[in-house]
């Protein structure tokens, strides 16, 4: 559908008003955000607890000293990326809007379908952004110290925002396709292969066999590597660029899929 402003607000204003409404919902029901924060924090503490002595010691032979002596720096990006599961709430929110008739009300108004889809994606991104911020703060408390300093943190949050938007778009598309909250929820199973068919605990060079090949096709790989670069090695433009492109492309693709799915739902048949 073309962006049609006849008789209504501009596209930017539509997007802002729709996004604001969803943000108000999040702020007024903060407890629904708790589980995903806890999952990410859990991952952080558990993996640091389990693997710090194995990979974190500076006495390691240099071939496996990939964390340069600080395993928290190495595992923190994984924990942040795992916060992206909170983007899945966006799909559930959208299904709620379809079920309650809010979606249909929008259909009867001069509102762009792109704005209706993009708004929950943005809110998903904001969710992931804030949860990542929380996880980052936790990481600092237990010893993370990025090679790039505080600005590195901001860069990581920026990538997390983009990545969160993509994952939110994926859940929105799944929610629209299935038409049910359970469908949106079930589709988030992809979250686990996305997290673990990737250089989760070791660098990509250390992966072997099919996992090493498969990881190359997983956008999560590039997102984690970009964040790891910022944490451990400093400003390496190539890995950062790859991370931004991977998460940006992912967001663009899921947005398009969600809009196509929405068009089918509202095709008036």
């Amino acid at each position: 559908m073309a962006i049609d402003n006849s008789g209504g607000a501009t596209f930017g204003l539509q997007l802002w008003i729709l996004t604001k409404r969803l943000l108000i919902r999040v702020i007024r029901r903060p407890y629904t955000e708790l589980p995903t924060v806890l999952i990410s924090a859990f991952f952080l503490f558990v993996y640091v607890g389990q693997l710090d002595k194995v990979f974190g010691g500076s006495a390691m032979p240099s071939s496996i000293d990939f964390s340069k002596g600080n395993f928290v720096n190495f595992i923190l990006p994984f924990s942040i990326v795992s916060a992206s599961i909170s983007g899945a709430s966006s799909g559930i929110n959208l299904v709620e809007d379809i079920e309650s008739g809010v979606f249909r009300r929008y259909q009867a108004m001069p509102i762009s379908r792109w704005a209706v889809i993009l708004a929950p994606m943005l809110v998903g991104a904001v969710r992931v952004f804030f949860q990542s911020g929380l996880i980052l703060s936790l990481g600092i408390l237990i010893g993370a110290s990025p090679a790039t300093g505080p600005i590195g943190f901001l860069a990581i949050l920026g990538i997390a925002f983009l990545w969160g938007m993509g994952f939110a778009g994926y859940s929105v598309a799944a929610g629209i396709r299935s038409g049910s909250a359970q469908g949106a929820q079930a589709a988030t199973f992809l979250f686990f292969p996305a997290l673990f068919i990737a250089p989760t605990f070791v660098p990509r060079e250390a992966l072997s066999g099919w996992l090493s090949s498969a990881a190359a096709f997983n956008p999560t790989t590039y997102v984690i590597e970009a964040m790891r670069g910022i944490m451990i090695d400093g400003w390496i433009s190539e890995s950062i660029l790859k991370g931004v492109i991977a998460s940006g492309l992912f967001a663009l693709i899921t947005l398009t899929f969600a809009v196509i799915a929405a068009r089918k739902v509202t095709e008036k048949n």
Binding site: G7, R21, V102, R104, Q107
Partner: protein, 325 residues
């Protein structure tokens, strides 16, 4: 030009159990400024008809025009001219009433200040000023319907579609909505409403279409519909059975039971003087006379072959216009 024109609308849904014909043949025309009632039981095709008229669903066959604009080809233009309140209210209950009305106003293109102005105006119109800053979650069913009505009026539509606006409401809330609907009509808004309540159609609608099984069976003013099944019933009472019997002999097409005589005429109020003069000519004096109309209940039964199963609006309904002389 008609405000709303439905021409042989039909809608078949494809389901896993096979095709379902929700609407088979719906045609009617609504003049500007009318309240047009679509009366029928659950599943008759009322909501599907409303969805097609409001551009939210494409008809399988047939067409519809809103103020001369085709609902399929000019859907964006149509949407600017109509207000819609569907059965599913589509209200975010986490927001307050004021937030909802204001943000909806913004989406319709009003400026911040215009949106607050319009929101205050509409909320007071539907009697929700005191509840404006409360979350909709705390609203009663009637309050939600009124809020929904306010939302559908933001862009000052010329035509308002209300799908079962009072279903499930208590009598008091129903009355408030009725008054609001009448007030809107008096301001010149054309209103198309669906209902399963005979009393509601009778009290509000200038004209009614009776729909059953996806087909408009009959259409007209409430009075015309009632007249279509044989006019008014006139009831005379006499002092004695004998007098009643003599009256029965002088008035053709009448039926005498005890001291009473019953006859059906096209127009009760007009016929009563004639009937009286016939009786006078025969030197018969009546004690009392009354004229009553057939109810929409009778009409519905006659055209569809079954009664309209719906909960009664309530017992002491003084807005209804059933009554004697």
């Amino acid at each position: 030009m008609f405000a709303v024109e439905a021409i042989k609308l039909a809608k078949t849904f494809q389901t896993r159990q096979g095709p379902v014909k929700a609407v088979r043949n719906v045609s009617f025309a609504v003049a500007p400024g009318e309240i047009f009632g679509i009366l029928g039981p659950n599943g008759a095709g009322k909501s599907t008809t409303i969805l097609m008229l409001t551009t939210l669903l494409r008809s399988t066959t047939g067409s519809a025009k809103i103020l001369g604009l085709d609902v399929d080809k000019d859907d964006a233009a149509v949407r600017n001219k109509i207000g819609v309140a569907l059965q599913e209210t589509g209200i975010d209950e986490v927001l307050t009433g004021k937030e909802l009305v204001q943000s909806t106003g913004r989406l319709w293109g009003l400026s911040q200040s215009k949106a607050s102005e319009r929101s205050a105006e509409l909320l007071s119109l539907v009697g929700l000023t005191d509840a404006a800053d409360r979350r909709v979650k705390t609203y009663s069913g009637g309050m939600k319907r009124r809020l929904d009505l306010a939302l559908s009026l933001i862009h000052q539509p010329q035509i308002l579609f209300l799908d079962e606006p009072t279903t499930g409401l208590d009598p008091g809330s129903r009355r408030v909505l009725w008054n609001e609907i009448i007030r809107l009509r008096n301001e010149g808004v054309t209103i198309i409403l669906t209902t399963q309540y005979l009393e509601e159609a009778d009290a509000l609608a200038d004209r009614i279409a009776i729909i059953d099984n996806g087909v408009v069976e009959l259409e007209g003013t409430p009075d015309a519909l009632k007249a279509s099944i044989g006019g008014d019933v006139i009831l005379f009472s006499f002092e004695t059975k004998e007098i009643a019997k003599r009256a029965g002999d002088s008035i053709t097409n009448s039926e005498v039971t005890g001291r009473e005589l019953r006859t059906t005429v096209n127009n009760g109020p007009q016929s009563i003087p004639n009937l009286f003069s016939i009786l006078q000519a025969n030197n018969i004096e009546a004690v009392a006379v009354s004229s009553s109309r057939p109810t929409l209940d009778d009409v519905f039964l006659k055209v569809t072959g079954h009664k309209l199963e719906a909960v009664k609006v309530h017992e002491n309904d003084d807005l209804g216009n059933h009554g004697g002389v």
